[in-house]
Each structure stands twice: as structure tokens, then as C-alpha cells.
């Protein structure tokens, strides 16, 4: 019999995280002899640390953590490690200082995702143009890594594309829509928008449509949401990165089980997150979230 505890980032903030949780519970219930403790930090680091401590106290066999912040959870991960409980990081990695205390990481490579988006942007604009960026919630590792990957790759691959300005959209479609409205009044010419996920990307698209300027702009996002997929179908949205929360959850659970059972697992367990654009979208199922 095994007992696995998980503390998630912020279930309910968007469909991705919610679908992840559902998939996790489903996968767990299909595994015999597995008991799980499913907790949610609600986006608050302090609460996540408390939940880690509670899980350590319950002496679970392994802990999966979806960090609210890659740096701030390092000490409590170390604490778990010292208590002899293996820790698996899911979705978004923790800082280098914590790597020695974890059994494995399982999730997408958010830096790579940023790079993919940069490449798509380059392609869409033929290497030349002025763009704006709408990033995720400030301070969140996923947001930081995607932005980092995007900016680095864009500079290398496409020096002709200039990022005029970056503003956060907090993973929130309405917020992103407002930010985009301001961009539209500020800049007469916008050739592309990179959004940290499709939720925000579609918000930006809404704003551009309302201003009658959507046709001139290439929209590129990440984490393909259903709304992004549909916009792509309509030909309004250029591309995104396909990332399945179900894969994400199942991979994390499997990694944890393997670790408990003493199997060798690779330290960095990336699952595949391919580019999805209008031209290849038929190869992908429409996201359920």
C-alpha cells in the first residue's frame, strides 16, 4: 500500500489546473492500493509550505508538489527530503538550489515552450515586425520561464522582431483584454502579440477585434486552451503550444509511483509539448479545458 500526497498551485484559477486535478484523481483511483491526499495551495506560498509540513507529518510515501514559487519551496522540499520522503516536482520546476533534494521533475519545459512561441512568431512575421507581450502572473515560475525562453530565442532567431512592451495579464482573460486595449491606443502598428497562455491570448484577440485591427496582428499563445483552438479554427489565432494537463497529471503520478517502487527514473521528466498552428491543428484533439 502506498500513500501519495500532492499540493497543487492554484486549482480553479483556470481550466488547466482544474483539469489536471481531475485527471490526477482519476488516474489515482485506477491504481490499486494507492491512497492519495490532494491539497491546493490557492496560489499562496505560505499555505503551500504549511501543506508540505502537514504531508510530512502524515508520513506519506511520496509528495508531489506543483510549486507556487520555484525558489520559496526549496527549504520545505529539503525538509521532506531530510524526513526521508521523496519529492516529485510537477508542471513547473524548482530552483537549482533545490535540485539535490528532489527525486524527479515531471512536466513541460516552459523555457522550451517560450522558445517555440518565439519561433512561431518569427515565422508568422517573416522575421520582421513590432510586437507586444502579455505575460502570466508576475512572480510565478511558469510565467517567468516562458517569458525568458521567448525573449532569448526571439533575440537570437529573429533580431528583426522587436518587443515594444511587456505587461502582465495575470493568467486572466479580461485583464489581458484591458492591457491589449491600452496597447492598441498606444501603438499604431502592432504586428504580433505573444501571450503567456491562450486564455490571455484570446483576451488580446477580443480587444483587437473590437478595435478592428485583429487582421493585422499575429496572435501566439501557449498552453492551448479550447478557446484558443477554436480561434485558430476560425483563422484568427496563429498558433500556440499544445500541452495536455492530463498528460501532465498522469506523468507526475506515474513518476511518484515509480520512485516509491524504487524504479530508476530520469531526473528531468519532460513530456512532449509540440507547437500547434493553424496548419497542423488537425493532428490534435480539441483541448477539453
Amino acid at each position: 500500500d502506498m500513500k501519495i500526497g500532492i499540493t497543487q498551485n492554484n486549482v480553479g484559477v483556470d481550466s488547466y489546473q482544474t483539469t489536471y486535478e481531475k485527471a490526477f484523481k482519476e488516474a489515482a483511483s485506477k491504481t490499486d492500493g494507492l491512497e492519495t491526499v490532494v491539497l491546493d495551495a490557492g496560489g499562496d506560498v505560505a499555505r503551500q509550505i504549511a501543506q508540505m509540513q502537514d504531508l510530512i507529518q502524515q508520513q506519506v510515501d511520496a509528495i508531489i508538489i506543483w510549486p507556487t514559487n520555484g525558489q520559496a519551496v526549496v527549504p520545505v522540499v529539503r525538509q521532506a527530503h531530510q524526513a526521508g520522503i521523496p519529492v516529485i516536482i510537477t508542471n513547473s520546476n524548482i530552483a537549482d538550489a533545490g535540485q539535490e533534494f528532489i527525486a524527479a521533475f515531471s512536466g513541460p519545459n516552459n523555457i522550451t515552450q517560450g522558445e517555440y512561441s518565439a519561433e512561431m512568431m518569427c515565422e508568422a512575421l517573416d522575421g520582421k515586425g513590432q510586437i507586444v507581450q502579455i505575460s502570466g502572473q508576475p512572480g510565478y515560475t511558469t510565467a517567468i520561464q516562458r517569458q525568458q525562453g521567448f525573449e532569448q530565442r526571439l533575440a537570437e532567431a529573429c533580431p528583426g522582431v522587436e518587443i515594444m512592451e511587456t505587461q502582465p495579464g495575470d493568467w486572466n482573460r479580461e485583464k489581458a483584454q484591458r492591457v491589449m486595449e491600452n496597447f492598441l491606443t498606444k501603438y499604431d502598428k502592432i504586428d504580433g502579440v505573444y501571450a503567456g497562455d491562450d486564455n490571455m491570448g484570446v483576451g488580446a484577440l477580443n480587444a483587437a477585434k473590437a478595435a478592428g485591427r485583429a487582421g493585422d496582428i499575429a496572435f501566439i499563445g501557449a498552453t492551448n486552451f479550447a478557446v484558443g483552438y477554436e480561434a485558430m479554427e476560425r483563422g484568427e489565432y496563429y498558433g500556440s503550444v499544445y500541452q495536455s494537463p492530463v498528460d501532465d497529471a498522469e506523468a507526475a503520478l506515474q513518476t511518484a509511483i515509480d520512485v516509491i517502487n524504487g524504479k530508476e527514473v530520469p531526473k528531468l521528466n519532460y513530456f512532449d509539448t509540440p507547437k500547434i498552428t493553424q496548419s497542423n491543428m488537425s493532428e490534435f484533439d480539441k483541448p477539453v479545458f
Binding site: G12, V13, T18, N172, R173, T185, N199, G203, A210, F289
Partner: protein
């Protein structure tokens, strides 16, 4: 002789200047507003355009619409911090129901639920007389939970965005003016009229100004307080229609933090948190100032958090000016 004359003259001028400065101080918020517009127009050529103004007012319309109801609650002597999650709840509900039962039913049913929640607030605060800060804080958390339970945490979306008249509220135009702006200003006009010119409004001011005296005069404090929460729930529901129609979808936490922005707007407008005084017009100016700060700083290229620093200073200065002018002294006199 000439001495006396010049004395009288200078005395007269001084009192005239004093009168003006008093008038200015009392309209401090308006002065600050105009000053803002001037400064931003000087530094950013994009700022002073109809387009930009329309964008800003449209963006302010959601917060502004909620602020109308909250102003009434505050004049009645209470606070409402639950509007943020109520906005999330209503938006999620109306968007989700749209594809299930059509726009009319969705709006109707959502209004029913919004008023129900308003009634719970109103009952707890008006009839059971529990502290409004804590009750609405508790409701803030509970409503957020209910929203999440309702959707299971999933985003909600409207499938056929082009083919529904629901789009009118957030995206439509009438006489060349964006519909959200019309809703916002229309509601404001009605609310200001109700507050200033009807028996209902007078009762709200009385109950907020001195609840005991109001009751001793035969007014029903509990019923009045109850009704102010229905109104804030109603305006929040209207804001949710604008928001849902504008985005054509919703996340579960879309309204998070709105309660504080709304409150900041109400305070900036000079409505006293003690109750019994305030005005919708000034609340609107307060909300617009917040919106213009955000927009103006963004156009000037400052990072988004710069607006927080400016908001800090503006809130304190505006309220200070207001108080100082009625006090007749810049600083308090106690040590």
C-alpha cells in the same frame, strides 16, 4: 485714513481668495482630476484623444457600475467587500447559462441569484446587525467557493459569439457610444437621482448618518440596510453582464481584487466610510481618476506597478484635502 482703506481692501481680497480656496478645496477631487488630465496630456500625445478617453471610460465602466451600488451601501453606513467574488459568480453564471438556456433566461436567472446573495448580506447585516466588514469578508470567501463548486473550476465560454445579442452589452455601440459606458453612466444618473431626490435616498442618508435617530424617527433601519445590499448586488450583476459580454467567457476568479479597487474609487470620491454622506457623481470621478492613472502611466511607459504608488499618494491627498477644507486647518490639532 488711507491705512484703514488699504486694510479693508486687503481684508476683502483675502476673504475672496479664501472663499475661492475653500471652494477649490471642497471640489479637491475635481481639481485633482483636471490636473491629472492636463499633466498626462502634456507628457503623452496619445493621452488626449477621444479614442483613448473612450477606452478608459469603457474600462472604468465595470468598476464604476459596481461602485454605484457600493456607494449606496457606504452612505447607508456599511461596507461591501463581497462584490469582487460576486462579480466572478455572476459572470460565470450568466456566461455558463447563456448556451444552456439562452441570453434572456441566463440574465434573468443570474439576477435572481445575485439578488439572493445580496439578500443574504442584507439579512445578516441589516436584520442580524452583524459587522459588515467581517460578514462581507466571509461572503467574499464563500461566494468564491460556490462559484468554483458550480463550474468545477473550469473556465466557461460562449460558443457562438457572433450570433448572440448578448454581445451588445459589452461590445455594442449606440449613437456612437460604447454600450458599457451608456449602462454605467445611465445607472449612475438614475442612482444619483434616487439618492438625492427621492424618499428612499433620504432614508439611506438618514440611516447612515445616525441609525439610532433614524429608527427613533420611525424609519426601518434593518429594511433600508437590507435594500442597499440588494442594490449593490444588482449593480454588480449589471457589471457582470458587461464583463461576460465583453469577454464572452469567464474564469472563476475574474473579479478577484475588484472589491478593493471599487472601495478605493468610492473613497477617492470623498464618500465617508462612517456613512451618511457621499455622492455618485464624485464616486464616478474617483473611479475615472483611478482608471486614468492606470492608462496614463501605461501610455507614458511606466511599469504597471507605478500606478500603485501614484494611487497611494492620490488616495491620501484627496481625502486629506477634503477633510482639511471642512476642518479649516491642514493638520489636526491634537498632540
Amino acid at each position: 485714513m488711507s491705512d484703514t482703506i488699504s486694510e479693508i481692501k486687503s481684508g476683502g481680497e483675502a476673504s475672496l481668495a479664501k472663499k475661492y480656496s475653500q471652494l477649490l478645496a471642497r471640489q479637491g477631487i475635481l481639481v485633482a482630476f483636471v490636473l491629472f488630465l492636463v499633466v498626462f496630456s502634456i507628457f503623452s500625445d496619445r493621452f488626449l484623444s477621444t479614442d483613448n478617453f473612450m477606452t478608459v471610460i469603457r474600462q472604468a465602466s465595470i468598476i464604476g457600475t459596481i461602485a454605484i451600488g457600493v456607494t449606496i451601501v457606504v452612505i447607508g453606513g456599511n461596507l461591501d467587500l463581497s462584490v469582487g467574488s460576486l462579480l466572478s459568480f455572476c459572470t460565470v453564471l450568466v456566461v455558463d447559462l447563456h448556451d444552456k438556456i439562452g441570453p434572456t433566461g441566463a440574465i434573468g436567472l443570474m439576477l435572481v441569484f445575485a439578488l439572493l446573495i445580496g439578500a443574504i448580506n442584507g439579512y445578516l447585516i441589516g436584520y442580524l446587525k452583524l459587522n459588515s466588514l467581517i460578514v462581507t469578508l466571509g461572503m467574499l470567501s464563500a461566494i468564491q467557493g460556490i462559484t468554483l463548486i458550480y463550474t468545477g473550476g473550469q473556465n466557461v465560454d460562449i460558443q457562438n459569439q457572433e450570433g448572440t445579442w448578448f454581445a451588445f452589452f459589452g461590445r455594442g455601440y449606440l449613437w456612437g457610444i460604447a454600450v458599457p459606458v451608456l449602462i454605467f453612466l445611465g445607472l449612475a444618473l438614475i442612482a444619483e437621482f434616487v439618492l438625492k431626490a427621492t424618499t428612499y435616498g433620504r432614508k439611506v442618508f438618514s440611516v447612515g448618518g445616525n441609525p439610532a435617530a433614524a429608527v427613533f424617527s420611525g424609519l426601518r433601519r434593518n429594511r433600508m440596510v437590507f435594500s442597499t445590499y440588494l442594490l449593490s448586488a444588482f449593480t454588480t450583476a449589471c457589471a457582470a453582464i458587461i464583463l461576460g459580454s465583453r469577454v464572452m467567457g469567464s474564469q472563476n476568479n475574474v473579479g478577484q481584487g475588484y472589491e478593493l479597487l471599487v472601495l478605493a474609487g468610492v473613497i477617492l470620491g470623498g464618500t465617508s466610510l462612517l456613512g451618511g454622506s457621499g455622492s455618485i457623481t464624485r464616486t464616478i470621478i474617483g473611479v475615472l481618476i483611478l482608471s486614468f492613472i492606470q492608462n496614463g502611466l501605461l501610455l507614458l511607459g511606466y511599469p504597471y506597478y507605478a500606478q500603485w504608488l501614484v494611487t497611494w499618494a492620490v488616495i491620501i491627498l484627496a481625502v486629506w484635502l477634503d477633510i482639511a477644507s471642512t476642518r479649516g486647518k491642514i493638520f489636526t490639532s491634537f498632540s
